[in-house]
């Protein structure tokens, strides 16, 4: 949680942190500012002291929403620095950054650098700044292990409420998609039809998903998945817009909307087969649902997350599928990890990899996905069930947005005996 930042800085021997960049799609900045839309900001925090937010003057109203100590960039005469450095933007920027660091009482020690921003500009800035401030050591951290990823790993109730709200929006949209699809007319060759009689494509459905998420004021990363047939069997294929929507083929629908501007996410997947399912597909779906349920029955407070990846692999291997347990990079069978934390990042701690240590565990306050799947692209089918779960402080696992698991969705205007 945010309150742990100072302790985490201490554990990593960081005397200060500096966060660069925008407030949008920049989790460390959003985490510390609360998400005001300051288009180009810098945040400096000395360990044990209040953070200082530096901002462009035109954005003073947005900056004020952060509640942080504020200093406008205009305090520093960048124009004079540009002239003094003979128009060397990197050096002038470094000289300004030196003044900012000093205003935040940071003149030496280990300074962690964070933010999602232009790598080239910051690497150039830091190489100049290092010469100006030789007593500072600027340091990076492995992504999964950074103080931000560690602080973000456990959520407070406000954060959980925001994720839960995204879950409500997510399942609302999924319900609309199911209702829309099952209401379509169906051609003799089992192709679904638009209202105007043209064949319904995956691209048509993508457009509706975009629209219905936007109606809720949320944001949908464009890599979301609504894929049918072979594409459903390739875990991260977004779906081919030209594919026709048909009965009896597996559809993987993996959707992860976020608060607008890059806030909290929800992550969710269902697998459907419209009208009917082939016996082979039904059998594979049943296996996915069986292990999904078994996992829910076995999640234990503080257990290592990898134990459940192990359980999932063992289950699938007992059914004859390839898994990462005994196959390197399988492309058929169970080909990915069981889940990951969800928050301001769609993928964050804890992770379920078999390689991970005990610290990736179901600690109170973590929010994770559970998403076992099976993939057979050559057979033209894929399956995944995914919910986002909160490990409550009382030790109970709670699915943050309930939604039915039905595989075969009956078509309202089509009968199996057609």
């Amino acid at each position: 949680m945010k309150s742990e930042i100072d302790a985490l800085m201490g554990a990593k021997n960081l005397d200060a942190i500096i966060v660069f960049g925008n407030a949008e799609h920049n989790p460390p900045m959003t985490y510390l500012t609360g998400g005001g839309h300051v288009s180009h900001a810098t945040l400096i925090k000395k360990r044990g002291e209040e953070a200082v937010l530096f901002f462009g003057d035109m954005e003073r109203d947005e900056a004020a929403k952060s509640g942080l100590k504020l200093i406008p960039y205009s305090k520093y005469d960048y124009e004079a620095l540009i002239k003094k450095t003979n128009r060397d933007g990197l050096l002038a920027g470094a000289m300004r950054c030196e003044l900012m660091l000093k205003d935040a009482s940071v003149a030496s020690g280990r300074v962690g650098v964070y933010g999602t921003y232009d790598l080239s500009a910051i690497i150039g800035l830091l190489s100049n700044l290092q010469k100006l401030m030789p007593d500072i050591e600027f340091v990076g951290e492995a992504r999964e292990d950074s103080i931000f990823m560690r602080a973000m790993e456990t959520k407070d109730e406000t954060e959980v409420a925001r994720i839960r709200e995204m879950g409500k929006i997510t399942t609302g949209v999924v319900g609309k998609v199911a209702d829309f699809l099952t209401s379509c007319n169906v051609r003799e060759d089992e192709v679904l039809l638009n209202e105007n009689g043209s064949p319904l494509t995956v691209g048509d459905v993508h457009s509706k998903i975009h629209l219905w998420v936007a109606e809720q004021g949320a944001e949908l990363p464009s890599g979301f998945i609504f894929a049918i047939g072979r594409d459903a069997g390739v875990p991260h294929s977004a779906g081919n817009p030209a594919d026709l929507m048909m009965l009896g083929k597996t559809i993987v629908f993996d959707i992860y909307p976020a608060e607008a501007g890059g806030g909290y996410y929800y992550d969710f997947t269902r697998t459907w087969s419209l009208g009917y399912a082939t016996p082979e597909a039904q059998e594979l779906f049943n296996q996915v649902k069986e292990i999904y349920d078994k996992l829910n029955d076995n999640f234990d407070l503080n257990a290592p997350f990898r134990n459940y990846q192990q359980m999932t692999c063992e289950y699938y291997e007992s059914k004859g599928h390839q898994t990462p347990l005994h196959t390197k990079f399988p492309i058929e069978g169970y080909v990915h990890g069981l889940g990951h934390g969800v928050g301001l990042n769609i993928h964050e701690r804890p992770f379920s990899s078999l390689l991970n240590g005990d610290e990736h565990r179901l600690a109170p306050g973590v929010v994770i996905t559970s998403e076992p799947g099976l993939y057979y692209p050559e057979k033209g089918m894929g399956f995944r069930i995914e919910d986002t779960l909160w490990v409550r402080p009382d030790g109970r696992m709670e699915i943050l947005a309930e939604y039915p698991y039905d595989f075969v969705l009956p078509m309202k205007k089509w009968k199996t005996d057609n």
Copy 2:
């Protein structure tokens, strides 16, 4: 243009470039890959040679859309590296990156680092990689001056067509907003009403804008501006959602949609006053329109962009306003620059700053905004007119999406003599 990358690398003495990060909201990666949704990719290009895209195996279909030379991360045994380094993620990542660089025939020389990505992770990676590959110098560049910003500065016709299409979407949405607002009922105190009789708020209008942009399949950065009264007088205030929509107050509507996932932008602003305008507001609007038109009459092929910032400041100062020409950081009057390039970045070269040299000019192929404004927050009013213009190869300036400039929008159900 993209074809200039090798020459620009030569001019900056770069032997290779490495681009980190996602394909979304990552202009250098989008520029070189064309925008397939590979959620975690690395691109390495040696000067004069084809770029190599490294990608996660699950995203092979998306990676293939780039048309680049492809190598899956699975070629490198990360699991073994993690074990070998005793679970040091930064070192293991650096060791994998060393193998990737060697596969792209890069073992020494100056390597430019690019991409919008996690600063901490890459700074940590590079500090390890530097020790493994001491013959490489990793370098950053000033943002405005980087090889990407320079290549992107001039657009080819395909890029212009994409910006033009975003302009069509933008002006379509703006027209819908104008039509919606002017169709509203108006209460006796000149507050606009929703269909259900409740007062119409700025937040209600924000929601509609989001929805109408999403309907077009585009993306709207959440810092877009629809602000009324005092907030219209603060250039980057997004607008207070609780503000009531009223007649006779200035509305600044600055909207910059992009292709979904962070593609090409369009940038556009109009200022409106519903029903009627106060004489003072009308006079100030007329000045903004007068200089806007004068600029259009005077844009010359290859002229320095700053000349037009100078012209705008001189015009406004002749009318008694403060401007950056003789006031440092004015907060009233004309308080910003005239414009900027638009492309995969909402702000890119050329820029209109008075400090800039002749190389920021209206060269054939650049796409710029022209956006003179006036701001008087204490008077509760602000004004800006903005279009996106293409400097055509034939030297003509073309507004990429035409839209009327009317300031007072007559209300359909309200008469001035009410």
